[in-house]
């Protein structure tokens, strides 16, 4: 197995968590709410923010409920009991109540009854029917919509969060390096993915939203299959390691052989599109400007009709602790970019002459524009098969 080392960041987690809790409790007071009930199902998802992790630094094994009063110490009600030690050692200013999975919702509802006044709920969109019924029946009251309280105050990264995203970005670079070093004709796609995964896992990644596909003419990126790599394959990789809950993504294209002139020309178009998207990513501007800039370049090259599904999905998305603001970057998106937001910008595109090609970096928005956190060179990679 190949190995890669990156220095682990030293993060003052406790101070950072205090900042996050303060942000949420201030928002509750501004909205005249007395408390917030956050449900998380334990089904981790790159496109949904893990609001419990945001406030506790605890990545749940199963369903959990966090009760956040407008003032004072939150209570985390979690299961299974044997995972309580991990929940308690995060440094979060949180009281942990560990119960059996069967007792979770009843316990959480009883504790929520102790929150006086106007209480809001976040997590309804992912709460299964039975769980919702059980919780609401036991709670016996009304809960207001609190879905966007944490996502709004958590739109921009704190210093501690940013360190983790930056570290995840370094791991993503290592992952692509492993892809380049190990890809060879005859290897199965899932074996290539395993090599990439192993290097990133050893470097600190606990998870990965990883899609690696190969073919002479890819329609889109997809999960690895048992297909064997062939000479001339276009290997596309969406490499998204997760470091202590925070994700960063790197998108690149690798030709298993010598790149053709057409491939180089079309990839150059994606480079220009990425440049244009980066130039548009300024604080205070709508995220839609990124998509419009990218689509402008690709459209001007004659591919306007391909600047929509199914030929592409989005020009990037908020990325950090799962899906965060500005969410999907489309030409109709409305969120305004702010300093310290993190996102991936990727003009990934199906092109009729070459198939799907990928190019994208994770960036942080700074005062004068985006700073790329992934450092893999911006080019079309290739090697003799």
């Amino acid at each position: 197995m190949r190995s890669g080392k990156v220095e682990q960041p030293v993060i003052d987690v406790k101070s950072d968590l205090d900042v996050r809790l303060d942000r949420v409790q201030r928002a509750l007071r501004e909205k005249a709410l007395d408390g917030l009930v956050i449900y998380y199902g334990g089904q981790h998802n790159m496109l949904r923010m893990d609001q419990i992790m945001y406030l506790t630094d605890y990545r749940t094994l199963g369903p959990a409920v966090l009760l956040v009063p407008r003032d004072g110490v939150p209570e985390l009600i979690m299961a299974p009991v044997w995972d309580a030690a991990r929940a308690k050692e995060t440094g979060a200013n949180v009281r942990v109540t560990a119960v059996s999975p069967e007792r979770l919702l009843q316990t959480a509802a009883a504790a929520a009854q102790g929150l006086p006044g106007r209480i809001a709920l976040s997590g309804r969109p992912i709460m299964p029917l039975a769980a919702y019924d059980e919780f609401m029946h036991a709670f016996g009251g009304e809960l207001l919509d609190g879905e966007t309280i944490v996502t709004t105050v958590g739109a921009a990264r704190t210093p501690g969060e940013l360190e983790r995203v930056e570290h995840a970005a370094k791991i993503a670079d290592l992952g692509f390096e492993a892809l380049r070093a190990t890809a060879h004709v005859g290897m199965r796609e899932y074996e290539l993915a395993a090599e990439v995964e192993a290097v990133m896992h050893a470097a600190g990644a606990e998870d990965n939203f990883g899609l690696i596909a190969a073919g002479s003419h890819n329609l889109a990126v997809r999960p690895p299959t048992d297909r064997r790599l062939e000479k001339g394959d276009v290997i596309i990789g969406e490499i998204t390691p997760c470091y202590r809950g925070f994700l960063a993504q790197l998108c690149r294209t690798y030709i298993l052989g010598e790149a053709t002139g057409v491939q180089r020309t079309k990839h150059d178009m994606l480079l220009r599109a990425l440049d244009a998207g980066m130039a548009a990513a300024k604080p205070g501007t709508p995220s839609a400007m990124i998509a419009r800039a990218i689509n402008g370049v690709i459209g001007a090259a004659g591919y306007e009709e391909y600047c929509k599904p199914p030929y592409m999905r989005t020009r990037g998305h908020g990325l950090g602790l799962g899906g965060v603001v500005p969410y999907d970057i489309t030409d109709g998106a409305s969120p305004t970019l702010e300093r310290n937001m993190t996102m991936v910008i990727h003009p990934n595109q199906y092109i009729p002459e070459t198939g799907y090609m990928m190019l994208g970096d994770t960036v942080v928005i700074e005062d004068d524009g985006p700073r790329a956190l992934t450092k893999t060179p911006l080019k079309l990679f290739s090697k003799e098969a």
Binding site: M1, S3, Q8, G41, G42, Q43, H44, N45, M46, L61, G62, A79, P80, V81, W82, D83, A84, A85, R86, P101, R124, P125, M127, P128, L129, A130, R188, Y190, E191, A193, A194, E195, E197, A198, V199, H201, A202, G204, E206, D207, N208, F209, G210, L211, A213, L219, A220, R222, P223, P224, T225, D226, R227, C242, L247, P309, P310, R313, G322, Y350
Partner: protein
């Protein structure tokens, strides 16, 4: 055992139709259609997501790598499958199922309502499978509000009864999954060594499993001097000479899960460690000896209690002692003292015993196949 769910199933995702032939799924589909008609329903909607997909995989072989999926089985005619994917993802997703028609969705309610409209089921009697346990309330309310003429009835029990009928090909799938776990345990003998972190060691174990075409891999570890600590996902702790490492693996290959657990000592074990490990293994053996088709799950748990004594059993019980295993990592019956379930005549079981005492820890676990009165350990037997 409860494990950490990943953001995506990122192992090899494909269908081995030689291992699990299409004819097997066609037979299952026919049995389900017969059950739909027998229940007096017009069709069943079967819901699954990336966490609990066994009901959907049973009929379709499909596994959602993230988000959700819905299968419509009418009492006659072809099935439909709705997947939370983009239209560009359909070619790659269709290789995961024998179903011909696949519809993508970004929002389930609209597409589900459209499907029932298209199939003339807006005034139908519909059975529901997997919805109460997994379908988000908001999506359910939106679907139900749009279809006031439909009569909905939960059919989870009927479907579970169908799933209890095992196909011979499932043995081979379970065996392949268990063999991958066994090979990874052998890899662990080399990977777990002083001077490296738990994460570096488990990266090698994970790699071995992915090379065996694992679709999903869950790893829990407890490590330290004596390792009298709770299991947890791999972390950055440095392994030292003399450490004890409790390793639990839960792995999915071709939709089928298996699991195993083993205690490693990075050097010569002290007597207390050896004794505790022997207790865990003897409790596992006692449970295995109590397993037979028709036995009470509570009696299997009681066998562990007799072997461990009250104090150690309380620790083992907090982790759980095992359950059915197959298309879901945890299926009925739960192995527990208060269980009223019985062990099926043909099925697979996960059994595990994790204990801590006096600063030491030990774990043992395996996957068993119960067939025609025989109980077989899947994967190679772990060596002490």
């Amino acid at each position: 055992m409860q494990t950490l769910h990943p953001v995506l199933k990122h192992g090899g995702l494909f269908s081995d139709w030689e291992l699990l032939p299409r004819a097997m799924f066609e037979d299952r589909y026919a049995r389900i259609q017969h059950a739909v008609a027998a229940a007096g329903d017009d069709a069943w909607l079967i819901y699954g997501d990336a966490q609990r997909y066994g009901d959907v995989a049973y009929v379709s072989h499909f596994v959602p790598r993230l988000r959700s999926v819905v299968v419509l089985v009418p009492k006659s005619g072809k099935p439909d499958i709705l997947c939370s994917i983009g239209s560009r993802d359909i070619p790659a997703s269709k290789i995961l199922t024998w179903f011909e028609d696949m519809r993508p969705y970004t929002r389930l309610p609209g597409e589900a309502v459209k499907l029932l409209n298209d199939r003339g089921l807006t005034g139908a009697r519909m059975g529901l499978v997997g919805t109460r346990s997994s379908l988000p309330i908001a999506e359910w309310q939106a679907i139900a509000a749009e279809l006031p003429g439909v009569v909905w009835t939960a059919r989870d029990a009927e479907y579970a009864a169908l799933r209890r009928t095992k196909d011979p090909a499932e043995d081979d799938a379970l065996r392949r999954s268990a063999d991958a776990v066994a090979a990874a345990m052998r890899e662990a003998e080399q990977a777990l060594r002083p001077g490296r972190t738990v994460r570096e060691a488990t990266a090698e174990i994970d790699r071995a499993l992915r090379f065996a075409a694992a679709e999903d891999i869950r790893i829990l570890v407890a490590s330290g001097a004596g390792a009298g600590l709770q299991l947890r996902p791999p972390d950055e702790r440095m392994l030292n000479a003399g450490d004890t490492v409790l390793l639990y693996l839960q792995v999915e290959v071709q939709r089928y899960w298996s699991q195993a657990a083993r205690t490693f000592v990075l050097g010569p074990p002290v007597e207390a460690q050896r004794a505790l490990t022997a207790r865990a293994e003897s409790a596992l053996a006692a449970m295995q000896a109590a397993v037979r088709g028709g036995a009470r799950a509570a009696d299997v748990a009681a066998a562990a209690k007799a072997a461990l004594g009250d104090e150690l059993f309380a620790v083992a019980e907090s982790y759980g002692l095992g359950a059915g295993i197959g298309l879901d990592a945890v299926e009925p019956p739960a192995i527990a003292l208060d269980s009223t379930a019985t062990i099926p005549d043909d099925g697979a079981l996960s059994l595990h015993v994790a204990v801590h005492a006096g600063g030491y820890g030990a774990i043992a676990g395996k996957t068993l196949l119960v067939r025609n009165g025989c109980v077989t350990t899947l994967g190679a037997e772990p060596s002490a």
